[in-house]
Symmetry: C2
DNA sequence: ATGATAATGGAAAAGCTTTACCATAGGGCG
DNA sequence: CGCCCTATGGTAAAGCTTTTCCATTATCAT
């Protein structure tokens, strides 16, 4: 690979001049000289070495994303949002999945630090423990977090509590009283918030919380199926189920069908996230819509602000909306749908 | 951030000694000295700067992935496979989406070259044009391609032609003669191969190709719905449809239902890929299973071989298998299922 | 014609690591 | 007791860029 000296030699100028041409320095360079340099660059197919540049400038134009699992559509969509903004701004993105290895987060933080990443975006998983915090402290000005508020970094938040509340209230509104909940795994704040919204709302409607009606899933359709079956086979079966994400809702619906129940007549089901496939399901899934792409985009925008040192609001909250479809109610006329 | 000199000073040794301790050089270092160095490293929380290291060693332990769109579950799964292997081997991964910008590929190749990536994995999208090829030529020994064979790089292949053939043959076997096809967009070799398999197989079964029965989709459920509607509304409607991926199959099934058709009685539908949700759909989707995770893992393994200079087989072909479910046939007993 | 100023080009340092090569000191052996 | 070898540690170069100061040249004006 040619370096700047090769170019300088070929164009019969100094490396300083080459750099000035490449970086459009305000320091003036004779037009003819510029052309000579550009010609040499073209012939050699020269590109400045980003490693050397990064080393000197303390800027790598690279940020890291740390998420549990890219094959989860929820995170895939967030990552896409991040990338769209990052790419626009000239930043490259490295991706790191933390699941299947508990020590993942710390390892990746160190890795990113070694590689001089300009910033980090976290989503999901668990941030805690003294070690993680102390490591993060050093990077404070370069971290944005999605979906958690208990750590004092800039954050993009989702109203999960409110979303779950709306889902549950919707079920009460259409007459349900025994409402099951298929949540996420321990340690996920998203899962916790969604559960909190559920608890709050049943209490508000004068129903006592029954631990039997609450299960902890693993975000997968399979766990939705398994836990849905448990919920529906036990005595005092719920007439409605809220699942903490759409794939688990699909699993629960499958479980209901396997038991001969008809959705929504015998069992109403509400999901969470509104992944692209949810409206194509049969029945189309009522779900709490999360603007995943926007979440990602907003977090990257924040990080950009952080890097450039601009002032900005440290917390951005995204509202959730309930998409009412046919897994909770028989098809409605448009006019009626509005009230939810 | 502390550097190696800070450590050396603190431990009262030279930087060479520090490096020896850090990199476990065979050059021996007094045990007491080692401990002093390690102590200093711990106190300063020192980590070697990967930029400087990469610059010197010409090795960055980073590879790039260039794909059309991470929010497509097909690619998300491939990326996960790549990452699992890469992570194991200590490599970080940068991700680049090419859709929505035709010049994407070239831009990312240059970017990766600037950043001294140790290798690149391509999947999907279109590689052609003189410029792209000439750029790639310089990188020849560091590129692995997934799903295309017309360029002379090491490749991980999928038997898309055979898969489509099996899907179509299955439909013939259960009595269908008018079989529609919802393919992918122009320029996608995957889409092309799947179409070829379709064409071959209808010909083998003595049916003449009818352009009317073939549509070009965009991989999305929406395009499946739209094109499914077109297919089913026209005269001489097909009794079966093969979709080039699962989301489009879901769309087509929704279209059928909207028209009052029952799947599989009035219309049989086969998808492609077998994404996790496919078996949870209603009816569970018959589909050509692609081992996406393995595809990604295999490509990264190849790239690792390429990097280490080991000999390896330059082309790895993955077979596809037909998952027969209830979108083509009423539930079968296990024994019967075998024959497909 | 000469001095001053503007226009342009160059040299060198900093950023951080690894490693080949060199230097030193101490111990063992003759 | 002196020499040599071995064990250990140090020095310096290479890898490539950007940018700050300097230096040079040429042109213009007096």
């Amino acid at each position: 690979m040619p370096n700047i000296l090769d170019v300088a030699l070929k164009a019969h100028v100094s490396i300083a001049t080459v750099s000035r041409v490449v970086n459009k320095s305000h320091h003036k360079v004779n037009l003819a000289t510029q052309e000579r340099v550009r010609e040499a660059i073209r012939e050699l197919d020269y590109r400045p070495n980003a490693l050397a540049k990064g080393l000197l400038m303390k800027k790598t134009m690279t940020i890291g994303i740390i998420i549990p699992d890219i094959s989860n559509p929820y995170y895939a969509e967030i990552v896409r949002g991040i990338q769209d903004v990052a790419d626009q701004a000239g930043y490259a993105v490295t991706l790191h999945n933390t699941d299947k290895k508990p020590e993942g987060i710390i390892r990746y933080i160190y890795l990113l630090r070694e590689k001089s990443a300009d910033g980090i975006i976290f989503s999901g998983g668990i941030i805690n423990g003294q070690e993680t915090l102390s490591i993060l402290k050093e990077l404070r000005e370069r971290v944005v977090v999605i979906g958690r508020h208990e750590v004092d970094f800039p954050a993009v938040m989702v109203d999960n509590i409110g979303g779950a509340a709306r889902a549950v209230q919707h079920l009460f509104d259409i007459g349900h009283r025994r409402i099951g909940f298929i949540g996420g795994p321990d340690g996920s704040t998203t899962a916790l918030d969604r559960l909190t919204g559920y608890k709050n709302t049943i209490a508000q409607n004068g129903v006592t919380f029954s631990p039997r009606l609450v299960k902890k899933g693993m975000w997968t359709p399979k766990s939705g199926y398994l836990l849905g079956t448990e919920l529906l086979k036990g005595k005092g079966r719920p007439t409605a189920i809220v699942a903490a994400n759409d794939p688990m809702a699909f699993g629960a619906i499958k479980a209901a069908k396997a038991l001969g129940l008809v959705v929504p007549k015998d069992l109403a089901v509400v999901g969470f996230d509104d992944i692209p496939l949810s409206s194509y399901f049969d029945p189309p899934l009522t779900t709490v819509k999360i603007p995943m792409h926007d979440l990602g985009a907003a977090s990257m925008t924040m990080l950009l602000n952080l890097i450039s040192g601009e002032k900005f609001k440290k917390v951005k909250l995204f509202k959730t909306t309930l998409q009412v479809r046919e897994s909770t109610v028989e098809p409605l006329k448009k006019a009626d749908r509005k009230k939810y």
